[in-house]
Structure formats: structure tokens, C-alpha cells
Symmetry: C2
Subunit: 199 residues, 2 copies
DNA sequence: ACGAGACTAACACAGCTGTGCTAAAACGGA
DNA sequence: TCCGTTTTAGCACAGCTGTGTTAGTCTCGT
């Protein structure tokens, strides 16, 4: 039998090399050869794991969403409901270098996915993450509602969408102008928004 | 004397061809030749107006922001303050096909600009638009405040940032999932948010 | 040890890339 | 009419692009 290399791990390694290239030079520079160089292998090796580069792109985009999902499921839902809510939101926002990089990459993928609108595989990944995030917001608002903390007259569905939009908007601002929209400021705004929903 | 072609107009025409390419096939496909074909000229003609393609990219991105600025300044500030506020927000959101296209293109440019972080010319354009939009939000909240309509206890600065984040978040959602986040829904959410700020 | 299967590297190919360059066409004033 | 300038098209070049193919290397169960 051959030498055994974990196929899945190797694919992820290559996808992460693609991330670094996209983050550094933009998606325009993400070619098989540049990615291979970044990963430290030959182009042939990369093509062994990914026969065509559309597959690579798609896998790399999907990997981002899987990483985010992992991070979210790793959060332990302990403490008061509002503090749990804030912890989840905190985990989704690009407030440290690693997640800022992740967001930049996600932004590049989204933009590319918008081009292949409809038919493309990439757009499906956008939808998946988008829906996951909306579902997260929904469950957070629902949690507040179930705990009887939600202010009277607030509509759960509406507050879900507002929270979701605020979340993505703040994420964008934190990524685009990190020196102005600092992590501290983002957390503060998020906390104040959640507090404005409470009784 | 030579034949006279309006240089500025021609440059805008070419930039718009670039927009269509970016929108249709993504920024990866935006080469001098594809743009020339889209515009209906030879590659040489395009290169006459834009010696290098970085200049073209930069000009095209800048043109987006100039168009948005034009649209905003064209709004007449008549009527009640809240209705004026909503009209401005309405004009900035991608709620029709043309502005959705514009947003997709802007998204692609932003993603590219994030790559050349710091040094690049593109990032400066991102900042410009971002600051313009924040300034718009600030003046809208200030208008509400000056009219004495703002609810007691609300901080102008904080509500500016919240509105700005909500605006960009909703814009993203309207672009990414237009069938779910319909124009009607976006307008409704925006209206309700503004109402939540009123006394 | 050895050979089957997993893995790697390298080449070829046609086509595209940005950019430099040149020749010609289009045009308006004289 | 014709000259001088602006505008256009096209070529050349070196280098990169995705993808096919092929020959090789490595590893491990037998």
C-alpha cells in the first residue's frame, strides 16, 4: 500500500494557501501555480488534489463556512441569556487578526459568487452561510424572547432581521476601517443594541 | 486639428464596460481585451485612454463613488424630516436592478481593495465612500435631533454608527438574497428602525 | 523484497495576460 | 487641398493561465 497522507487534511492545507494568496494579492492572483508556490508544493501536486481550479475555489469557500460553523458550535451556552447572546455575536464578528483575514477572504468569495449569479456553485455557499447566520440571529432573539427579556411590542422576526443586518454591517465596518471601527467600539455597539431590545 | 472626442466621456464609457464585465464574470475576467471587446473597441483604443490597467481599475472604482455622490446630491430635501431621511436611505440602498448591479461591482472593488491593504489606491476609494456614507448617516441623525424628534436618551454618535451599520448590512442582504430581502421588506425595516428612534 | 497503489513532479500545449511599439486612419483648421 | 495632431488598430514579446499527460518516486502490506 502507498504512503498514507490524510487526503482531507491536505486539501485543507491547500485551501488555506489559497486563502493567504487571496488575502494578500486578491482573488485575481489565485492561480494554480501561485497557490502551489504558497503551499510549498508543485503545481502538479495541487492538481492531484483538485483536478480543476473551480473545485479548489469552491472547496476553499466552503471551508471558510465550515470553520465558522465549528467555532459557533464550540461556544458553550452558559451564563445569563444576554451574555450568551453577546458571546455568540462576538465570535462571528471579525475582531481579531485571524477572523479579519477570514472575513476579507469571505468578502472576495462573495463578490466572485455574485458574478456567477444563480447557476454558480459559489453562490450556494454564500446562501448557506447567510442562512446560517440568519438562523443564529433568530435563535438569539428567540432566546431573549423565551426568557421573557424582550421589550414589549418588539417583533421577533423583525428584530432578527435587524440584528442580522447590524451584524453584517458592523462586520464590514470592522474589516474595512479597523482603526476607526475598533473591536472595543464594535462590542460596545453590539452590547448597546442588545440592551435596547431588553425590557 | 484632429478629430475631437470627449476624453472624459470616453473614459467613462470604457469604465462602464469594465463594470459590465465585472458584474457578469467577476473581477478575475476584467482584462484589457475583454473590456475592449465589451466596449466595442480594440485593445489599443482602450490602452490609449488608460495606459495601464491599474489606472483603469482605479478610475472605474472612483466613477462608482462619483455616481453615488451625484445621486445623493440630486435629492431635494423637502417634506417632513423623517420622510427626507427615508428618501436619502432609499437612494443609497440597492433596491432596483441598476443599483443592485452597482453594488455588486462595488463589492468586487472592495474585496480587491482589501487585498492591497494600506498602500493601494483602491483602498482610498473605499475609505472615501465609506466616510461619505457615514457622514450622510450623521447628518440624517443630526437632522432628526435638530428637529427635536430624537427619542430622549439616544446618543447621536451611537445612533449614527448603528444606522450606518444597518444600512450597509441591509444593502448587502438586498444584494445577496434579493428574493428574500425584497425592496419592500428593506424599506419597511428601514422605516421601522427610523421610527424606533423617534420620540 | 517486492510490487501495487498513492502520490509527486515535470513537461507540453493552446490560449490569454499586460505592456511597448508602430503604422495608419480620421479629422479640423489653414 | 493638405498639413498636423489626435485617435485607432494591430503587431510583437515575454510571461502567465488552466488543463492533459506521462514518467517517475515513495510507502507499506504481503
Amino acid at each position: 500500500m502507498p504512503k498514507i497522507v490524510d487526503h482531507a487534511t491536505r486539501r485543507e492545507e491547500i485551501a488555506e494557501a489559497l486563502w493567504r494568496v487571496v488575502r494578500r494579492d486578491g482573488i485575481r492572483s489565485a492561480s494554480v501555480r501561485t497557490i502551489a508556490a504558497e503551499a510549498g508544493w508543485s503545481a502538479g501536486a495541487v492538481r492531484y488534489y483538485f483536478p480543476d481550479q473551480d473545485g479548489l475555489l469552491s472547496f476553499a469557500m466552503d471551508l471558510v463556512s465550515r470553520r465558522v460553523t465549528e467555532r459557533i458550535s464550540a461556544i458553550d451556552a452558559k451564563g445569563s441569556v444576554p451574555s450568551i447572546v453577546l458571546r455568540y455575536l462576538d465570535e462571528v464578528l471579525p475582531l481579531d487578526e485571524e477572523r479579519r483575514a477570514e472575513f476579507d477572504i469571505w468578502l472576495a468569495f462573495m463578490a466572485q459568487a455574485q458574478a456567477e449569479t444563480g447557476a454558480g456553485t459559489l453562490h450556494a455557499h454564500t446562501d448557506t452561510v447567510h442562512n446560517q447566520l440568519r438562523e443564529l440571529c433568530a435563535s438569539l432573539v428567540r432566546a431573549l424572547s423565551d426568557a421573557g427579556l424582550l421589550k414589549d411590542g418588539l417583533d421577533v422576526r423583525r428584530e432578527t432581521e435587524r440584528l442580522h443586518a447590524l451584524l453584517d454591517g458592523l462586520a464590514l465596518h470592522a474589516a474595512i476601517q479597523p482603526e476607526r471601527t475598533t473591536p472595543t467600539r464594535v462590542r460596545q455597539l453590539m452590547r448597546q443594541h442588545v440592551e435596547s431590545l431588553l425590557e
